[in-house]
Amino acid sequence: MDFDVSQSRDSLPSRSSEDLLDQSLAPTEEILIRVSKLNKYFGDKHVLKDIDFEVHRREVVALIGPSGSGKSTLIRCLNALEKPTSGEVYIHGDRLNPNLSLKQLSVLRRDLGMVFQNFNLFPHMTVIQNVTEAPLLVRKMPKDQAMALGEELLAKVGLSEKRDVYPSRLSGGQKQRVAIARALAMQPRALLFDEPTSALDPELVGEVLKVMKDLAYEGSTMVVVTHEMQFARDVSDRVVFMSDGAIVEQGDPEELFRRPQHKRTQMFLERIMSILP
């Protein structure tokens, strides 16, 4: 996999020129997530059709496509929030067997952080409690260590001053940044984003995308279901276009956006680009 930074990433101000040369943050050959022959039915509805899909370490993959195309279902299958009807999901070599107990699944799920469209912050906990809950409970991290980690992550998403506030006092963008910090607190191998900006007011989308960009440049492995085409184009290493439960086309973002090979991709991009400035 080529990591061509000159094409897509040089326009972004947050990345310094030194970083651009740092090839150690490029996607590796190591496969972190592997999906093979994945099928999912909701009743009679065939929502995922024979999906084969891989994510390499340090790779940022954008999943795009019309609504109802199965993107969210696919990403939810990756950490067993949905059970595939057939097919296999491997996380870092471990098979995500649908027959595993909740306890066994919880161990595998620690490897993947998830950020939801509707944030799903815990409303009865303060911001810092939201972030430290899983390290304390799941990792059994000592309290002072968890607090230090929580504060570091809140600083990273620019919300240090909100540490003792309840989520109801936060804007949507702030909520989503806390949710990202919460996912990072488990130090997962990869982050899954399920339409992280779709529930946000337009003026709040930027702050969340900025945090995601920073993560991408630090070499995080990310799978992002998104309708933000600019983000997919500028930040991702690979764009996967899905339609009707199948992967229609995937590849280098610049290539896919400029010269989509399939009719369906062309139609989708035309429709969505026509409303972009």
């Binding site: 929030l81 909740l102 919880s106 799920r109 620690r110 799903n120 815990f122 899983a134």
Partner: protein
Amino acid sequence: MDLAARAFPALLLGAVNTVIYCVSSFPIALLLGLLLAVMASSRFIWFRAPARTFIEVIRGTPMIAQIFILYYGIGALLGVYGLAGLINAWTAGIISLAINYAAYEAEIFRAGLLSVDKGQTEAAYSLGLTGSQSFFRIVLPQAIPFMIPPFVNDFIYMLKDSAIVSVISGTELTSVLTFWVTRNTSDSFPLYFIAIVFYLLMSLPTSYIARLFERRLRAAF
């Protein structure tokens, strides 16, 4: 007025007994209700079916029948093993109240737990929390503020419902009241008045404290 003064100590004792019946049986009803609610929401039929059956049978049959069965039926059964002493008006009363109310509290728990967004459990699972961690740390704490008003409602009901223990010779406020009223039918008004004041003295602080508690829990989110 003389009658009221004479009846007062007995009525007070009756009120204290009412409180003892309720304060002992309601927590048991809550715990059993939670267990039933969790079982009734289980994916596994062999958890779900017994819980549903229990809830429907208990809700669908009169408490007076349940209390008789427990007191005389189970009492006789235990008598066979020389354990008849275990069943008296206190134990039979408290157990019947607890069992009966558990069926109702279970449905309150179930409704409360259902009111918590599914996304909360998903977020907890995605962080690697186990089923019980996500239930006790994430879902239940969010459901409790919504369940307090119906719980308090039922507790206040129980304060009065506990009068049913009089059928197995339990002594509580209503049974003491009846005892005095039947002996003073021409002058019973002050007796009723005292009993009503006692009932209010039990229920009003309950409502007040519960509202305070609820407000504090809800203030956060």
